[in-house]
């Protein structure tokens, strides 16, 4: 079964070239992508992730939207949503370390090749027990 993935930008940054680039790369790599565009909120990400029954959530950050990731992780935890979250874009090294500890499954930096992103996503999803969404 094809991997289904939600790609979103949360917060207040409108730069969406990177995430469009990634959306195309993932579709080329055989992944079903649900891209919801910029200006998403934690609520909308939770709602779409559940409704669309995705295997994975990818968030793009350029202008500092990573500041909302701890809140997103907390929300997933609180609502017992067992879907891994990955992050791509411009993330300071110290922030990345702290978000890794908090539970972000993978990070992708500018210049990451399409192949490397697709491969990493497959690995994350296949490494799990096959259960999707809610526990």
């Amino acid at each position: 079964m094809a991997i289904r993935m939600l790609l979103a930008k949360i917060g207040i940054d409108g730069h969406d070239r990177g995430i469009r680039f990634v959306a195309y790369s993932l579709r080329d790599g055989g992944i079903e992508v649900i891209y919801t565009g910029p200006w998403q909120t934690i609520d909308s990400v939770v709602k779409t992730a559940i409704e669309e029954d995705v295997n994975l959530v990818g968030i793009s950050t350029l202008g500092g939207d990573y500041v909302l990731i701890p809140k997103l992780l907390q929300r997933f935890k609180r609502e017992k949503i067992d879907i891994p979250i990955i992050l791509g874009g411009i993330i300071p090294t110290d922030v990345e370390e702290s978000l890794k500890e908090k539970g972000v499954a993978a990070f992708f930096h500018p210049g990451a090749s399409s192949e490397s992103i697709v491969e990493a996503i497959k690995k994350i999803v296949e490494g799990r027990s096959g259960s999707r969404s809610q526990v």
Binding site: G11, I12, D13, G14, H15, D16, R17, R20, F21, A23, Y24, S25, V33, Y35, T36, G37, P38, W39, G63, G64, V67, L68, K71, I90, P92, T93, D94, H109, P110, G111, S113, S114
Partner: protein, 555 residues
Amino acid sequence: MDQKLDLDKSLRKWEEGYDASLGKVPIRKKKFTTQSEITVEPLYTPRQISESDYYLEKLGFPGQYPYTRGVYPSMYRNRLWTKRLLVGYGAPEDLNERNKMLLSAGETGLNVTGSSVSMRGYDTDQMAEELDRGYVGMYGTPLDSVLDTDISLEDIPIDKVSVNYSDQAPFVSTATHFVLDKIVGSTNHADCFSHWISCAMYIVFPLDAHVRMTVDLVKWCSRNVRRWHPLSIIGQHYSQNGATPVQELAFTLASGIAHVDNCLKAGVDIDEFAPRISGFFDGQINVFELAAKLRAARRMWASIMKNRFKAKDQRSWQLRIHVQTSGVELTRQVPHLNIARVALQALGAVLGGCNSLHTDSWDEAITIPSEKSALLALMTQHVISEETGVADVIDPLGGSYYLESLTDKIEQEAWKIIEDIDARGGMMKAAKDGYVYRNISNSVRRSLIAVKNKEKVIVGVNEFCQPEDESSFESFKIDPELVDRQIERTKRLRKERDQAKAKAALDELRLIAEGSRDGNIFQGVIDAIKVDCTRGEITRALQDVYGKGKPYAGV
């Protein structure tokens, strides 16, 4: 002997030699193209630009129609381009300090970007409460009120330097200047089309509301202030969002046409506002294509204003151009190499006759630029103006067979897109129905493929890769005390003002916006700021009337 025959004969001889050489050593690439996918021939000769009236019709002299060679007769011989570094981070105090440092190091103009907090219409305290405090000062400087603008301009010689603002509807930063009576020569990146399409600014207002506010701003400035240039038409947004240089040029000029149409419809005379329109383009690394794009932009704008809109004042025909070197082309990998990229991008901009230039800092691909790296970026411009000699001759590449041919080609291709947009009913429709966005997305898609199969080489990313080195840059940190102070300042302003007057001003603004009271929205914004209303309040008052916009079709 007939010169033409002689040229043909020599050309054929060269072609034979070229083919023979390729027979021995194979050609380096399957196809040679510019960033706009324009085919690049192996050699350019008088053949490509041979019409007899070519010079006067297509080039002319600097300061003369069609301004291909520059808008001023003397260009950089007596007045260099304005060296203008974009600054926006931290608190208004940070902005002030960085700008003073750059001015003392030879910067000649300021370039201020409001924070993404401000651009979404939030005040710092609202942002901290509603979303996250971490956003404050992260990306651009938040300017909530007159107090913040005042701090940002402290000890800046505003009578000597102009300021380039990225201030969008409802133009609060612009209005704070008039309230403070700190009126500088300024350019504002107020182009709502590029913001709406490429920066997804439908989140703040619908496009029609953006247009109404822009027209009111232009009208107000044309009639009330002299050196304020309220409308800069922006290609840089389209380009950074993924448009090719040709698309960037076409979308920008089509936006310009729509703005002019809108202002004319509102009853402003063409020569009353057109001299104050300027252009803002992206500085890509293909040096010749960048120079050609800027030259084509001036030529096309001059024609649009003279022939399409029948402007009489020659200043209406002149497009002064600001360039920002392309951030998307900078890489996280081998980050110091970005210094070289920026130098080449800036060189292209100067060879294209830009009037104002921002150069990116090398660490911009990774973080908010440090003071040291911003200084290096500024000094790169000094190297170009003082050491290379390219600023000593006006339009030094003019007459190059390749450059002139490329300028013509870019112009032809851009006209085709403009005609297409005209046929679709203009830029308003093309923006709303997703035409522009879709075309940009297609270019993003094509560039993805080109990078993947290495038709497009990015040094250090898909070729000539090096082990990653992240130890050499400092990550930007905001001073939390300055954030506290700003939040406090905005709260105090709101608390200590005359509440009745503030409420009356916001009510009045709503009435003007909904059309039940005659008036100019920008005047309403100024009046609200005079009684200490803040950016967030003004934006919300207008959102009460206009609501927010809707997104166009996605990927």
